[in-house]
Amino acid sequence: MDFGSINPVLLIASLMVASTPILLAALGELVTEKSGVLNLGVEGMMIVGAISGFIVAVETGSPALGFVAAAFGAVVLSLIFGVLTQLLLSNQVATGLGLTLFGLGVSALMGQGYVGIRPPSSPRWEFFGLNELPVVGPILFNQHGVVYLSLGLVIGVWWYLRTTRSGLILRAVGESHEAAHALGYSVLGTRFAAIAFGGACAGIGGAFLSLVIVPQWTEGMTAGRGWIALAIVVFASWRPGRVLLGAYLFGGVTVLQLNLQAAGIAIPVELLSMSPYLITILVLVVISSDKRRAAALAPASLGRTFHASS
């Protein structure tokens, strides 16, 4: 066993990388849920994003185009969910589950010819040499663009929900769709936009996994990250800042257990591999044990079907 091989600076830098897919997916889902829609298809949208991005990046040689395609692919999938739940008024839980099952199947189908290929590598940013700084260099100034995008989105979503008019309408729709409808706001329009935003974020997160973290395509490679993103939204009490905290906590556990595996610690590998899931469950338990608080934080119309009677 050799703990000396674990470098704390690199640990934090790689923690940020490992957390990014979950952070993005959770931010997207947060906006979707704030509008009152519970989309359990995050896992499906992530994996479709992962393969769409992978295919386009491989075929065009451009990771940037890959990320655009990933967002597009996942948005298409999320719109299926939108049409079913918003126009055809289907049950959101069932439809979300269906989206995940369908996404896993479709992605495997799309990825047939892409197993074992390396995607074009996407460079890290260097900020004119700032990345050479000790400690803060590798952490703050030498990451992939998508990591900065995800951090920017945390601030962006916070700002949007808190200060903009459109963000206020979105929250109103999520708290009481009848009242928002009566005031003349478009419940369906708002929700469709929120669902699509959730899809785009999940797709980019998935592509970051297949293009940067792994980087390869394997079936089912998201391995439950979409579900963990859903758990993190609950953990974060629907607040963007806490989503960041939750995602990085999860990323930290993931990276740490990989490091411990590499260091050859005397704990079974399987036990280490299951630790992120166990810790997510533990955190969920702690956060939801205060019943009244948990109920007060969730958007009041979350998961309820809206049908305008007039």
């Binding site: 008024l89 099952l101 189908l109 963990i228 758990a231 591999s273 469950i281 044990s289």
Partner: protein, 365 residues
Amino acid sequence: MREALIRLEKRPTPSKLWSWATPLVAVVATMIAGGLLFGALGTDPIVAIRTIFYDPLFGEFAFYYRGQLLVKAGPLILIAIGLSLGFRAGIWNIGAEGQYIMGAICGAAVGLAFYPLEIRWLIFPLVVISGALGGFLWAMIPGILRTRFNTNEILVSLLLVYVAEQILAWMALGPLRNPDGNGFPGSRNLAQYSSTSNQELIVGWGLHWGVVAALIAVIFAYVVLSRHILGLNIRLAGEAPRAARFAGVNPERLVLLCLGISGALAGLAGMFEVTGPSGQIGIDFNVGYGFTAIIVAFLGRLHPIGVMLAGLLMALTYIGGEAAQASLGLPAAAIQAFQGMLLFFLLAFDVLTNFRIRFGGRATA
């Protein structure tokens, strides 16, 4: 206000006719859309659909595939019956895959503990009970967390699937590994050990004890839902939660019951699989029955008889998919996408059960 061209008008009560017709319409729509999908993949759609839905039952190799039908339908129906009870009450156990794995591990562990004793009358029932118990206890985790700590059972039950998969890998490589297996991962073969073997009851039919258990579960669920107070409570809690509370339904007890029953049935399914068709605990033991069963439950309208029919149909897509893989080179994932599509169409057409479609419009607002 602008009048929409097409409006949905809520029906006073759900349409009985459409409630039974939607699964059929959805199946037909999926065949058409699936045919187009296969066409896009470069396979003749008609041939593909025939290979999946017709040939396994009536084609040249039907004698082989017909037996496989019950082997695949057994676990799907067993799991889906349990899930449908919970889904009716608004209790979402989506971690059946994990309960299936844990049932198989517990059953196999107990069976292997007796190896090589030959006392079938004692050991086989013990294995069956431990399988059910394994699934039951695994489902109790989300159950107790939900009732004691108000934790979302959807997320916990699902996350526990990944934990169960790790335990499975650990068991296959560690404690349950076959000592005479030359170091290969995987346990001893339970189907070849006479005390635990869940063999075919009628040769060539694929009818093993798991299929019998599935049939019993269908009858049990039918009786409970239509005749027993528990069934009434389940239906009430799902359709009118407030009324259920006034009627004295204890929601916590209902959560534990629904999760417990579905967990035990999923555990049984895993146990019958590991002692029969699969034979051993291996890393790739689970093949997604727990997730496909969710589709089966919805396709069967959460009704026991419907679930049975839906399980048979879904089993047909499994073996038809295998046949298409062998003869047409259709990728295995195509069937998964096909099954997901079926659920989408079902949910989409379900709007007709609860709503009337009106064209043009009255001058309301």
